[in-house]
């Protein structure tokens, strides 16, 4: 039977494993932002500016959804 410390360590490892999965999101987010912005402007500077704002918006939405899910999981 694992001790409290052992259980905490296992929880931390599980959390790290979940964080690692999150690293798969940025490439998707960046590529989607570039294409989305690219199909709305012709000027490169405008594309880059829109890409940045689009990426930040998507990131905030994802964080919002994650926060809601965390709250729901906590209440469960």
């Amino acid at each position: 039977m694992p001790t409290n410390a052992g259980r905490n360590a296992i929880d931390c490892l599980l959390l790290l494993a979940e964080i690692n999965r999150l690293w798969f999101a940025p490439p998707l987010l960046i590529a989607t932002s570039f294409v989305y912005a690219g199909t709305r402007h012709e000027d490169l500077r405008e594309i880059l500016r829109h890409t940045a704002s689009c990426a930040v918006t998507m990131l905030l939405i994802m964080l919002g959804v994650a926060a809601v899910l965390e709250v729901l999981a906590y209440l469960q």
């Binding site: 999965r21 798969f24 490439p27 998707l28 960046i30 590529a31 989607t32 570039f34 294409v35 989305y36 690219g38 199909t39 709305r40 402007h41 012709e42 000027d43 490169l44 405008e46 594309i47 829109h50």
Partner: protein, 220 residues
């Protein structure tokens, strides 16, 4: 006889704020954009956008392809007619991945080979459909070895791929699906110009102009 010039037809896209964009040979550019992401834009001389689309979509697709061990892109093997719905439902990611012609064409070639009885794919199994149905029962036994060294038997090859790849098989599928769908936007952009061309700072000048006009009117 006067000399006729055969210039490529152009399509002009215009929005309310930005100058019109001349799209050289829109149809051909759209076809090229479908074949290889960004190629249509490079053909039209829209180099920056071409490079952005090419790098973004190709890297996304290649990343997904590698994550899925080159097994996530294949077409369904059932007949397309009389019910295309079955064809789509058997392998729904394929119609999305087919947004990239360089993926759709080898998938359809390998599908045709599979249906004609071929046992192996041309390029190391990539794009070749998994052995399912009768083929899964008649051929060699489909097995894999788990972490403990035990042999796991699978009902078909798709089950084996999903078992072996696990989470990465799904992730690879999603990456390639998104890449294919994004390329549809790029194809549209190559053929018709920006989907919604957003203002690039000129509206401010318009506002200033209208304010000056109003001031002049008031002065009168």
């Amino acid at each position: 006889m006067p000399c006729q010039s055969f210039e490529a037809p152009t399509h002009v896209s215009q929005s309310s704020h930005d100058p019109p964009i001349e799209l050289k040979n829109a149809g051909k550019a759209a076809l090229l954009a479908w074949l290889v992401p960004g190629l249509g834009h490079l053909y039209q001389g829209r180099v920056a956008k071409g490079v952005i689309f090419c790098v973004s979509i190709t890297s996304l697709f290649v990343f997904g392809f590698i994550l899925g061990s080159a097994k996530v892109t294949y077409a369904a093997t059932v007949d397309v007619l009389p019910s295309p719905k079955t064809f789509v439902m058997e392998r729904w990611p394929f119609p999305c991945q087919a947004g990239i012609g360089a993926v759709a064409i080898p998938c359809l070639v390998e599908r045709a080979r599979y249906r004609s009885g071929a046992q192996e794919g041309l390029v190391g199994g990539a794009f070749f459909p998994p052995r399912t149905g009768i083929r899964a029962t008649t051929g060699a036994e489909i097995t894999s070895v788990d972490n403990a060294g035990n042999t796991v038997k699978h009902p078909n090859e798709l089950a084996k791929w999903q078992y072996d790849g696990g989470y990465y098989f799904e992730l690879g599928t999603i990456y390639t699906v998104v890449a294919g769908l994004l390329n549809l936007l790029v194809v549209y952009d190559a053929g018709m110009g920006p989907l919604v061309q957003l203002p690039t700072g000129k509206p401010k000048q318009d506002t200033e102009d209208s304010a000056a006009r109003d001031a002049a009117k008031n002065a009168r």
